[in-house]
């Protein structure tokens, strides 16, 4: 039996990787993927806790998260398509119309 801490460490590493991805990369597709990574890192933590404490709440939460993530990706991709149509680019650094 692998101890809970291992799962949590992996989950934290994955989350950190996701955060770095979001902050560093300029391609929105990769940013989305990094966001997925963070969500799944959270999912991993949920599942690990669920298993460790023998409650199903965490597992149910994971289902919700996956559903929301799917919806989010759908909306995000739609936005990216629209942005590409108007700007012929999907570089997030160029999306600065709201600059102060």
């Amino acid at each position: 039996m692998i101890p809970l801490n291992y799962y949590l460490v992996i989950s934290a590493i994955l989350f950190a990787l996701g955060v770095l991805g979001v902050l560093i990369r300029r391609n929105p597709l990769i940013i989305f993927m990094s966001v997925e990574l963070m969500l799944n890192a959270a999912n991993l933590a949920f599942v690990a806790f669920s298993r460790a404490f023998n409650v199903l709440n965490g597992q149910i939460f994971v289902f919700f998260v996956m559903t929301v993530a799917a919806a989010e990706v759908a909306v995000g991709l739609a936005l990216i398509v629209v942005i590409f149509r108007t700007k012929h680019s999907i570089d997030v650094d160029q999306m600065s119309a709201l600059k102060g």
């Binding site: 955060v19 979001v22 902050l23 560093i24 300029r26 997030v92 650094d93 999306m95 600065s96 119309a97 709201l98 600059k99 102060g100």
Partner: protein, 694 residues
């Protein structure tokens, strides 16, 4: 008996009509005069005055039976605290005498004026002026009636000011011309002079009235005279003050020294005005005032003496000036001043009946003289008009009043000549004309009481006869000295008939108060207590008549025997030299007044206007001090310092602060999505860190 009593008191209650008839006349002329013919306007005004005369006669008739007279209340007037002055008329022998003179002589002069002003219309061609003249004339009668019929000093003052106003209006009747009809302000200046000089006198009157109110608490004749003896006992100085202040009023209105200067200039008005206002009636108001205030004057002999002296000195002073005048009306004007001096001296001496007697006879013969002079002037104007039609001599300035332009008018204007002669002899005091009786009564009284006054008046009477002789010789005898006089024509009936009536009165006016009978004295005795009947003194009368005859003889020697030729100097001028120049120039009184008072007054006014008002008040106080301070306050203090540097700076600073803050804040919003994400991360870390550490 009962009926007569009713009718008697009925006549007394008619007294307001003496004011209302002329008032109605003037109102009709004001309102409807525009639609009326020239003749109608004149006759209406004359009728209004004539009706007042009829009422006066009725009042006089009632007085015969009830000589103590009556006070007729008419309306409430002033009711303030303890001051009650009703508007009521006083009918007594004194006031009715004045009413009869004013309305009687006034009516004759109204009728005369119909003819006289007709010529004015013809030459000056303005019917509106004709109407205005008669409106003023009726207004004058109204005011004069208020003056003589009032029962209080205040009512008297209303009339006093009213006649002053009429005098002003009528002197300045041809306000845009001078006496020769040229465009000028000379007549308006003369009117102004009369008005201003009269104001000085009126100021004295007001002081007298105020002092009287202070001392007596009333201005009603009855109250004042009733308490007079009592007040005189307690504070005699007050009565002296009142009477002397009143004397100032008298010198103004009755043209006595030192305020007589306005009357000669008043001759700028039309001749009927000179006759009515400046000879017969208004100028005698002062004499009436003294006679009316007899109960006050008799209490203070000192004041009486001063009044008598003022009158006597004026009589002589003006008589000497009259000798040196060339203008026919100016001679008469100075003669009027002189004769008023006689009257003032008489009432000053306490010879009230003699003064009033001379007032009445003087009204007759001086009105006669002025009106005849007017007739002469008209005659000459007609002659001149006639000339300028034939020869083209329009530019020549012709003075129809200058006696040097006359001469030999006896033949051209016989009626005028004869009535003028009557007037002149009456004025000179030749037996048995009116002037003889009244003047000698004054002289006899003076001889009894005040020798100085007697001597002054006798010398004045000598001069009077002399200047009248000179005038008659110069005007009516000898050869004509100007072509206009040669073409002079007699005046129409409307002018000569009033002259004849007045001449009749001037001849027989003495009957009023013949020595021994003393009709007028006993008539006035009912009003003025203790009037002593003058004693007829043969010595006095003989001396004055002798002097008058000598004076006339002298004037014949100088002006009659060898008539003045054209452009010849006055023979007296050769004999008297500078003395005559003095008479001619009125002893330089006007010049002295100008130098001493008027110029100084103008200087003072200039000083007040330029320095006090202009430089100090306007330039410094208003512009510099008030406006400057205000400007500084608003511009510098409020605007620049408080507003700009304070309030504006504060709010601008707020705005600037907001701008700066937002400008530095906007740098955060750099548009890089990733930096936003980083901020979110930091936020989350901070929040989580906080939660953990807590």
């Amino acid at each position: 008996m009962l009926l007569s009593e009713v009718s008697n008191s009925g006549f007394f209650s008619l007294v307001p009509l003496i004011v209302f008839f002329p008032a109605i006349g003037l109102l009709i002329n004001i309102i409807f005069g525009g639609w009326m013919k020239e003749k109608a306007i004149g006759w209406l005004a004359s009728a209004a005055s004539g009706l007042a005369f009829v009422v006066s006669v009725l009042l006089g008739y009632s007085l015969l039976e009830q000589p103590e007279g009556m006070v007729v209340p008419f309306a409430d007037w002033i009711n303030i605290g303890s001051l009650h002055i009703p508007w009521q008329f006083r009918v007594d022998t004194l006031s009715v005498t004045m009413m009869l003179v004013v309305s009687g002589v006034g009516t004759l002069i109204h009728i005369y004026a119909i003819g006289y002003m007709h010529e004015d219309v013809r030459f000056k061609d303005d019917l509106k002026r004709y109407r205005r003249f008669f409106v003023f004339f009726n207004l004058f009668i109204v005011m004069m009636m208020i003056l003589v019929s009032g029962d209080s000093y205040l009512m008297l003052f209303v009339g006093w000011e009213g006649v002053g106003l009429c005098s002003f209006l009528l002197i300045g009747f041809w306000y845009d011309k001078d006496t020769l009809g040229r465009p000028s302000f000379a007549n308006a200046e003369a009117a102004k002079k009369a008005f201003v000089v009269n104001r000085i006198g009126d100021f004295g009157f007001i002081l007298a009235a105020l002092t009287m109110f202070w001392a007596f608490g009333s201005l009603q004749f009855g109250d004042v005279f009733g308490k007079a003896a009592e007040v005189a006992h307690v504070m005699p100085g007050v009565i002296i003050a009142i009477t002397l202040f009143m004397l100032i009023g008298v010198t103004g209105k009755s043209a006595q020294l030192p305020l007589f200067v306005w009357l000669p200039d008043a001759m700028a008005g039309p001749t009927p005005v000179s006759a009515l206002i400046h000879a017969a009636t208004m100028v005698t108001a002062g004499v009436y005032l003294v006679a009316r205030s007899a109960p006050l004057y008799t209490l203070v002999p000192q004041a009486q003496y001063i009044v008598a002296l003022v009158g006597a000195v004026t009589a002589l002073f003006a008589a000497t000036i009259a000798v040196g005048q060339y203008d026919i009306k100016k001679v008469l004007a100075y003669s009027t001043i002189s004769q008023l001096g006689f009257m003032v001296a008489a009432v000053g001496m306490g010879a009230f009946a003699a003064g009033m007697f001379h007032l009445v006879t003087h009204a007759f013969f001086k009105a006669l003289l002025f009106l005849s002079a007017g007739s002469v002037i008209l005659g000459l104007e007609r002659g001149h008009h006639h000339l300028s039609h034939h020869e083209e001599k329009h530019d020549e300035v012709f003075d129809p009043g200058d006696m040097r332009n006359m001469g030999g008018l006896r033949k051209q204007m016989p009626v005028t000549f004869w009535v003028y002669l009557v007037g002149a002899l009456a004025l000179a005091g030749i037996f048995p004309l009116a002037g003889f009786w009244s003047k000698d009564e004054i002289l006899a009284d003076a001889q009894l009481h005040y020798p100085v006054v007697y001597i002054l008046l006798t010398v004045a009477a000598f001069f009077t006869a002399f200047y009248m002789g000179r005038q008659v010789w110069m005007v009516f005898f000898g050869k004509t000295r100007h072509e206009a006089a040669g073409h002079a024509e007699e005046s129409p009936k409307v002018i000569t008939v009033p002259l004849m009536i007045l001449a009749f009165l001037a001849i027989f006016g003495g009957v009023l108060n013949l020595p021994g009978l003393h009709t007028l004295t006993s008539w006035l005795e009912h009003t003025i207590a203790g009037v002593e009947a003058g004693k007829f003194d043969f010595l006095v009368a003989g001396l004055s008549t002798l002097l008058a005859l000598i004076a006339i003889y002298l004037s014949w020697l100088l002006y009659g025997r060898k008539p003045l030729a054209e452009d010849q100097l006055d023979p007296l001028k050769k004999m008297l030299g500078p003395l005559f120049t003095g008479m001619e120039r009125k002893w330089f009184v006007d010049e002295i007044y100008w130098a001493v008072f008027v110029d100084r007054y103008v200087d003072l006014a200039r000083f007040l206007a330029n320095v006090i008002d202009g430089r100090f008040w306007h330039d410094w106080f208003h512009d510099k001090l008030i406006a400057g301070t205000y400007n500084w306050l608003s511009h510098v203090a409020l605007n620049k310092i408080i507003d700009t540097r304070g309030i504006d700076a504060f709010f601008n600073g707020l705005g600037e602060l907001t701008k700066r803050a937002s400008a530095s804040l906007r740098r955060l919003q750099n548009g890089f999505v990733r930096s936003y994400a980083l901020a979110v991360l930091f936020g989350v870390v901070v929040i989580l860190g906080y939660l953990l550490i807590r």
